[in-house]
């Protein structure tokens, strides 16, 4: 039950990023999605990693808010994506049809158990929304939000793979930490590049910075 609530919240938050008409709301919709995924990590015994993701993401989104205002003084200008991103985090994953799923101890018929498939479904939904955002958005800040959503999907999938496939090694947890680091790196480098090009040419849209296109 908890998982599906969090999954719907994560997907709805991700979709809202490209639907709401205010950059502040978009940032905090993204934060909602990230925190919901952190919540799903707590469900699969990733206590430390889950809380760490909460800590990291709150700080990261607040730093993003700083840059958001810096480049988009009209706060509503960037977010005009159409509402076609997937919001189907709650489709079923055929419980009980292979040996990977550990939810068999739940009584049948009450709540669909949490399985690897359900995690992958969540990850696929988040990745699709992120990909849509990264392809459709012109503003660099919004584009980076799409990238963050894709990495968010990676975090959910990484945590689930660790729990369901290889819980005896810590490799999967390290994978999640790598994904979180990549996210921070993406922010740091992305905003460094954005700041440089904004200072040099007053550019904050991707189409105006297409010089290197082959």
């Amino acid at each position: 039950m908890g998982f599906w609530t969090l999954a719907v919240l994560a997907v709805a938050g991700g979709a809202a990023v490209f639907v709401v008409n205010s950059m502040a709301r978009a940032t905090f919709a993204l934060l909602t999605s990230l925190l919901a995924v952190a919540g799903t990590l707590l469900l699969v015994d990733l206590g430390y990693v889950g809380v760490l993701v909460v800590l990291m993401m709150v700080m990261e989104m607040l730093v993003m808010a700083v840059f958001m205002i810096m480049y988009m003084m009209n706060p509503a200008a960037g977010a005009h994506g159409a509402e076609d991103a997937g919001d189907d985090g709650d489709r079923d994953g055929h419980p009980g049809d292979d040996d990977l799923h550990r939810g068999a101890r739940h009584p049948p018929g009450t709540v669909r158990p949490m399985t690897l498939q359900s995690f992958l479904l969540l990850a696929a939904a988040l990745f699709s929304i992120g990909l849509y955002g990264a392809l459709s958005q012109q503003s660099i800040v919004m584009l980076m939000m799409g990238l963050e959503l894709m990495i968010n999907a990676l975090i959910a999938a990484g945590g689930a793979f660790w729990y369901y496939v290889a819980p005896h090694n810590a490799d999967g947890q390290v994978l999640v930490l790598v994904a979180v680091t990549v996210m921070a790196l993406e922010m740091a480098m992305g905003f460094a590049v954005t700041t440089a090009i904004f200072r040099a040419r007053d550019v904050d849209l991707t189409d105006e910075a297409g010089d290197l296109k082959g």
Partner: protein, 300 residues
């Protein structure tokens, strides 16, 4: 939730409220108000009957979220602190949890500052972000030092590790850095620029009525929580002669809280651009050295 946890949760909320009220009353008293013991009550009553002011096109959703998030973050951070024999949430990663919940305050202040669509609150919100980026790294290193000394992120284990010697004795730098960042976390006193007078009250400047009451209560609750966290982290938790554990926890919490309120009244404001430099150039290396010392001591 079993019965013991429920009772612990209720006692946590009650003690948080009592201590927050006490801190507000002490602050009013030190500020020279007459009848200081009832001052917070009068202020609360005034705010509750006050009409709600509105700014032009505010983002009400974000303002309400931020306002409620402030006391909520304080309460959630407090759940891992052991008041009596055990905390409400006996998490194996209690220290990280405390840190994560305390960082949520950044979000709360920025949401309120942005949402009301007014210039001074926005400046206040940005000041708090700058403050957060300054204090957070030394603060984290102070927490890491504690975790390293105890060999655990569980706060109950941290308390147990101080049975012989309190951490404040052999981690004085971490303790002082923690207290400085405690002031910064609760944007209190010298670190109170996000709500400073030179920006007309900063973040909550446009809040009125019940919203302002919730914000103020949340700020005092946060001050109590950051003071209370110093007790299990550095001051041996409930350890002490004669009195039971909860009483010692209360005594130590009140002592730290009183100190913070006193500092808030007596020390002038710190400019954040100066503090940022000081934090990154002086405090981070100092806390790193402290961590090194602790690491050498606990090396098996």
């Amino acid at each position: 939730m079993d019965e013991g946890t429920g009772a612990a949760a209720v006692s946590l909320v009650v003690s948080l409220a009592v201590l927050a009220y006490g801190a507000a009353a002490l602050d009013a008293g030190l500020g020279g108000a007459r009848g200081a013991a009832g001052a917070p009550l009068r202020e609360a009553a005034r705010l509750l009957v006050q009409g709600r002011r509105r700014t032009l096109v505010p983002d009400t959703l974000l303002v309400r979220t931020g306002t409620v998030l402030l006391p909520l973050a304080a309460l959630l951070a407090a759940t891992v602190l052991p008041a009596g024999d055990r905390p409400v949430l006996d998490s194996g990663v209690g220290i990280v949890w405390f840190n994560a919940m305390e960082v949520c305050v950044w979000g709360a202040l920025w949401l309120v500052g942005w949402g009301v669509n007014s210039v001074y609150p926005l400046i206040g919100g940005y000041r708090f972000l700058a403050q957060g980026l300054s204090y957070e790294l030394p603060h984290m290193f102070a927490l890491i030092t504690v975790a390293l000394g105890a060999g655990s992120l569980r706060i109950a284990d941290v308390v147990a590790a101080q049975r012989e010697v309190w951490f404040v004795v052999w981690m004085p730098v971490a303790f002082v850095v923690y207290l400085v960042s405690a002031l910064a976390m609760a944007f209190w006193g010298p670190m109170g620029e996000p709500v400073g007078r030179n920006v007309a009250g900063g973040v909550p400047a446009e809040l009125s009525g019940a919203d302002r009451l919730v914000f103020a209560a949340g700020r005092y609750a946060l001050l109590v929580v950051v003071a209370a966290a110093a007790v299990p982290l550095f001051l041996g938790g409930g350890a002490g002669p004669v009195l039971p554990g909860w009483a010692w926890t209360a005594v130590k919490t009140v002592a730290v809280l009183g100190g913070l309120v006193l500092v808030g009244q007596r020390v002038p404001a710190v400019r954040m651009d100066r503090f940022t430099e000081f934090a990154w150039v002086v405090l981070i290396p100092l806390t790193l050295l402290q961590t090194l010392v602790v690491a050498i001591v606990v090396l098996p």
